[in-house]
Amino acid sequence: MKTDRQLFEQYHQNLKREKRIIHVWQISIIIAFFLIWEAASRLYWVDPLLFSSPSRIFQSLLERFAAGTMVPHLSVTLFETILGFLIGTIGGVIVATLLWSFTRFSKIMDPYLVVLNAMPKVALGPMIIVAFGPGYTSIIMMGVLVSVIITTLTVYSAYNEVDPNYLKVLKSFGATRWQCFKEAIFPATLPTMISTLKVNVGLSWVGVIVGEYLVSKEGLGYLIIYGFQVFDFTLVMSSLVIIALLAAMMYKVVEKIEAWLIKHTK
């Protein structure tokens, strides 16, 4: 017969073991992926000119960082993405709030929002460039456009799903519509807003990279297109690696912010 303590220890051990197995698999997969890629490239299973190889990408990255030719591109794209993300998210929440405040306005806007949401936003790229000129503004606008409408719709529908009984309580105290918003609607939908943050990180990257494809003279999207045009696929792949790393980091940061917000707004 085991004691309670021993049973708990055993449960704990099992958890740790499971976690270790998962980690081993995750690391093995990434190592295998790079090894097979490297081998395939060196043994000419695939065309090394098109698919490059991990070692060449690594070397190219080292050189570019050392020569200082990567950091400007990287920071421009990061700046555009963060700004697009912030404006898109905050803008979406503001528009959703306006829709909620004016019921008739939201009914009028409904078909337009549906069309805008269904439309592939990147298709508007050329129009954005014509409107805002070939520069940062256009690219940031692309980042905003991709995320703002879905944020509006998600947050607006979350506003409407708040349990009407909370409003009943507030109205029995004589609350105005704005007070209802401040005391019940907004705090109740905060979790939804936080989860849209995570979606918007990914969406802003899409907008910004496509924007850079179309117009820019710098940035990671520009490097990808440039590498493609001069047939330097090592550069294309290097940029992709950087994008993957930055996007993952940004996602992690948002996750941290989420955890903090949940803890402090409960």
């Binding site: 309580v169 507030l170 109205k171 029995s172 105290f173 004589g174 609350a175 005391e183």
Partner: protein
Amino acid sequence: MVNFLTLEHVTHHYFSKEGYTKAIDNISFSVDEGEFVSILGPSGCGKSTILSIIAGIIKNTQGNVYLEGKPIKDSKLAIGYMLQQDYLFPWKTIMNNILLGPKINRKNTDSYKKAALELLQEVGLQNVENQYPPSLSGGMRQRAALVRTLINDPKILLLDEPFSALDYQTKLKLEDLVGTILKTYNKTAILVTHDIGEAIAMSDRILLMNKGPGSLAKIFSVPKELREETPLDVRKHPQYQILFDEIWEELDKREETGKVGVI
């Protein structure tokens, strides 16, 4: 003397694209100050609609409602509303939940803190003011919700089945607590319920309602002997069973005639 609360031929329709439903039809009654009235009836008979109209949350489509002789929309009297569940805001502490009413009415919330603590003590809640609602049990939360209602010093309390989501024992205790507090402060109250026992235990008068559309069927006066007891003791009183059976029979009769109507 004018009645404290008067409903005159109140009718309410709920409209939708497909048509309309008449929730309540031609309801008239009045309530005196300090009186406790129960509205008893099957679910869907428009009991809650009556409360929402008195609270001014929905506007009745026909008829008039007067509070202290004034139309309800002109009345500035504080109204307390308790719902089936506590609806404490989970992101606010118990104290901030309680201070919600004063805050909405732009009063200095600090001056209410002491009263809030006293009321919490009175309903048997101690050291909970800094906790969040999810960490309290159902009965404790409903008691906190009662404090949130009472802090505004409402002249009339509207109780929309506030005990129905609780387990039996908690329910009886809370009935007792609410009954005693309301009597002490001489508050007027209207309780909506489908529980015959609860209606008898707590009220001075019972309004029995018909279903579809909701209308007044019969009014029972609770005997004086029962009115003087606390809700818990009423249930042990010999008179209690007599009134219970009488109401039960009346409800039964209506159910049967209702069935005939459907066939």
